[in-house]
């Protein structure tokens, strides 16, 4: 812009910004107002679809792609926070701060999600004070909250305080035509009695991701039976979303990125047309598909894990290797958009980075289309 009204030969900075943006948005119409917590990779796909320049980092709402392709509009959205691993504040204030940041994110979503899901490992060492602290912080979430338990919450008192605070560890509910199941998928065969371990020792053993003394995670026969009964009445056409702390498949045993009876659980889910599993525990972007089941990991708010040396599902596009100086890198929260057909797009709200979106179409196409942006630095 200039005062004389003539286009200057050398443009001012601001004019160049404007023109750059205009170039990107040329051809895109009918954009809806959405929350700022939305996708950039969706924008890339949309921009590519209309032949705009290859701007990786522009910012558009999720549903632009659908509007452009004429697909059905999304059904609803829910947000998630997971793996906060709280100590009490006087022991470690950093994890507390990071959970508060996630709650701040979720409360600032506009519009608000239908509900917020907590993915497990609220406490670090399963102590009553840690769980109570987490409960107090999560109370300030504005949207309705559904909880799931992780191994760090359970193995000090075998779930006693968790049940008092949050109710049963496995349950199901229906929401807008989708059947949701929440599992307790971090059962472990008793390794502590024979060793004469105290509750604290048992918890400390389980708390070590790489501690081989503990058993592999499993859902266990009784709960599988509960699941079977729960799903009996659900028609195969009903979309199914399963929450599980352990991945419900077998990724890497030494780190308990593993569910020992995964095949049995998957067998129960296989008859459904559309199944999505959302899991915690792995603290990273993780994507997998087994048969008709789509799997997505949830980010942690406490610390990121590196990628396992073996067993990484081929569909997974890694998140960028975290920068150790940035104590928030590789962490965050996120949201899940459930389409009318019941499949989901998973949004990873990585703190201080562009969000990463993994779309249902990416998984459905076996990775051939809509791939997320590759990282600059992969895990070693």
């Amino acid at each position: 812009m200039n005062r004389s009204g003539k286009m200057p030969h050398t443009k001012s900075v601001e004019t160049r910004h404007v023109e750059e943006r205009e170039e990107l948005f040329r051809g895109l119409r009918n954009l809806d107002r959405r929350s700022f917590l939305k996708v950039s990779t969706g924008a890339l796909a949309a921009a590519a679809a209309v032949g705009a320049t290859n701007h990786f980092h522009s910012f558009l709402p999720v549903n632009v792609a659908y509007a452009a392709e004429g697909a059905a509009l999304p059904g609803f959205t829910f947000a998630y926070i997971s793996d906060s691993h709280l100590y009490v504040k006087k022991t470690n204030e950093r994890f507390v701060r990071q959970l508060l940041r996630a709650v701040d994110d979720v409360n600032n979503l506009n519009p608000q999600p239908d509900f917020v899901f907590y993915g497990g490992d609220l406490a670090q060492l399963g102590r009553k004070e840690e769980l109570d602290l987490g409960a107090q912080i999560l109370k300030s979430i504005k949207a309705p909250l559904h909880m799931m338990v992780g191994e760090h919450d359970w193995y000090f008192d075998m779930g006693q305080r968790w049940n008092e605070l949050f109710g049963p560890q496995n349950y199901s509910f229906d929401h807008k035509g989708v059947h949701f199941v929440v599992l307790m998928s971090v059962q472990e065969k008793d390794f502590w009695t024979a060793r004469g371990m105290s509750p604290a020792e048992r918890m400390h053993t389980v708390a070590g991701l790489d501690n081989a003394v503990q058993s592999a995670f499993e859902v266990g026969a009784p709960q599988r039976e509960w699941l079977r009964k729960d799903l009996e009445k659900v028609p195969t056409s009903t979309p199914l979303i399963v929450f599980s702390h352990s991945p419900l498949y077998k990724l890497y045993r030494p780190w308990n990125f593993w569910t020992d009876d995964a095949e049995d659980v998957q067998a129960l889910l296989q008859r459904f047309d559309r199944v999505t599993v959302l899991h915690g525990h792995t603290h990273q972007v993780l994507t997998n598909r087994i048969g008709n089941i789509q799997f997505h990991g949830m980010l942690s708010t406490a610390w990121p894990w590196p990628y396992a040396p073996q067993g990484l599902p081929p569909l997974t596009v890694q998140m960028n290797r975290p920068n150790p100086f940035d104590s928030n890198d590789g962490l965050g929260d996120g949201s899940v958009t459930v389409h009318a057909d019941g499949l989901v797009d998973k949004l990873y709200n990585l703190w201080n980075r562009n969000p990463m979106q993994v779309k249902a179409s990416y998984l459905s196409s076996g990775g051939k289309s809509d791939a997320p942006v590759a990282p600059t630095l992969a895990s070693y």
Binding site: H17, F36, L60, L100, V103, N108, Q136, S140, F325, D329
Partner: protein
């Protein structure tokens, strides 16, 4: 006599400086500003510059490969003719529309090559939104401006001349037309670039001149070379903190290939979130990007005052860059107050208070920013170290600045928050949980 930052009384340091033959600084008698916006009169500035920079050569200790990369730019290799032309242009007030301002007005030789103001003032007394960075050592940065929108000194020089609230020429042709009033220019341009005066070469020439403004001979450099007496014990402790508990080194790295104290990246350290409803602003910008059929509306938003606070985001549109500004250099930081992109931090104690408490909480805050739990003594030590980064040619200004800042800081520390700094309250706690936050122990009732 009060201990100076150099570890010995100020009077002696002045004597030592005068004794040094070629690079002595002038004594700093208060000179009345006789140019607009508080700048020193241009002829006086030029005289002073002659005393400061007597020859063009790499400073000792700088990596020769790094030096070659900076100075041997294809198409603008540094030559004496280009330097001379650039210098003349730097001081030429014809480059402003009303003939009152030169580059040297806001990048004043007598004021640390900046203007000692929060935000710079352009023609017609228009106030901008950003603090003028120093021209000293700017050649060693990988991008120019607080948001890095100019990739080189050549590009940077050409922009303020055409900005309506800075130097105000409507276009390049008008700027060149103004210069044509001086008959010396065609000859100088011919000698420098072998062609008639043109705007791109103007940028190149100014860049060539700015490449001579290297000021890397600080007490820190002598200390790094092995002279343990070169920095005071406080400054030495400050250096240890800089590399350790205070975490400065992770963004403000100093080494022989990159000696000025920047990682050339962009970080939201929370300054942008301080003065206004920053998140509403960010949300506004993002929504505006969603409705941008309207060029004029966006244009207005882009140059509207508030949008400037979005920093690097305006250039890259990366969400991770919302409110992010370039890591500035730390060289000569003692004499280039005030600090940050909006000049809101007046003293280095204010800067330390800002970092110590973990910046201003906002959803886009860089994850490397967190409360540091530094004590008052530790803060003093880091400040002492920062003052030891000033080139010895400015020792008198540095001393004066130290005393002035110390006096200001003794009266008022507006950015200090000990509850946050010492981690009694954590960032986001009061925002999420309300004024009572968590209990002291962080255990639930």
């Amino acid at each position: 006599m009060k201990q100076s930052v150099w570890g010995h009384p100020p009077g002696i340091s002045a004597l030592i400086c005068l004794a040094l033959a070629s690079n002595a600084s002038l004594s700093v008698a208060a000179e009345p500003a006789t140019a607009p916006h508080g700048a020193m009169a241009i002829p006086a500035q030029e005289q002073r510059l002659d005393k400061l920079v007597t020859r063009f050569a790499p400073p000792p200790g700088i990596d020769p490969v790094a030096w070659a990369t900076i100075y041997m730019i294809a198409g603008n290799e540094t030559t004496p003719d280009r330097i001379a032309l650039g210098r003349k242009l730097y001081f030429d007030t014809r480059l402003s529309k009303d003939g009152t301002l030169a580059c040297a007005t806001c990048h004043d030789v007598s004021r640390g090559f900046t203007d000692h103001r929060s935000v710079s003032e352009g023609i017609g007394d228009h106030l901008g939104k950003r603090s003028a960075p120093t021209t000293m050592n700017a050649a060693l940065m990988q991008s120019q401006f607080w948001d890095g929108r100019a990739p080189s000194l050549e590009e940077q020089a050409k922009l303020p001349i055409l900005n309506p609230i800075e130097m105000g020429h409507p276009d390049a042709a008008a700027a060149m037309a103004a210069l044509s009033a001086d008959p010396a220019y065609p000859g100088l341009f011919q000698k420098a670039y072998g062609r008639a005066p043109n705007y791109d070469d103007l940028g190149r020439a100014i860049a060539s001149f700015e490449r001579t403004l290297i000021f890397l001979q600080a007490p820190f450099d002598r200390f790094a070379a092995g002279d343990n007496q070169a920095m005071s014990p406080a400054a030495q402790r400050g250096l240890a903190l800089f590399n350790g508990k205070a975490r400065c080194v992770s963004c403000h790295m100093i080494n022989s290939s990159n000696p000025i104290g920047t990682d050339n990246l962009f970080h939201n350290i929370g300054v942008s979130a301080r003065k206004q409803n920053f998140e509403a602003l960010a949300g506004q910008a993002l929504r505006a990007l969603n409705q941008s059929n309207n060029t004029e509306a966006l244009d207005k938003l882009a140059i509207q005052t508030d949008m400037s606070e979005l920093g690097r985001f305006l250039v890259t549109k990366n969400r991770g860059d919302i409110g992010a500004f370039k890591t500035e250099q730390l060289r000569n930081v003692g004499i280039t107050a005030p600090y940050m992109h909006d000049g809101t931090l007046r003293t280095l104690w204010d800067v330390m208070d800002h970092y110590n408490k973990g910046g201003e909480t906002n959803p886009y805050l860089d994850g490397g920013i967190e409360p540091l739990n530094l004590s008052e003594h530790e803060i003093d030590d880091v400040v002492a170290f920062m003052f030891a980064l000033t080139d010895t040619r400015f020792v008198a200004e540095n001393e004066a600045a130290f005393r002035a800042q110390q006096a200001l800081a003794a009266k008022n520390r507006p950015f200090r928050d000990n509850a946050l700094a010492h981690r009694e309250v954590v960032p986001f706690e009061l925002r999420v949980l309300g004024p009572t936050g968590l209990q002291k122990t962080g255990e639930a009732p």
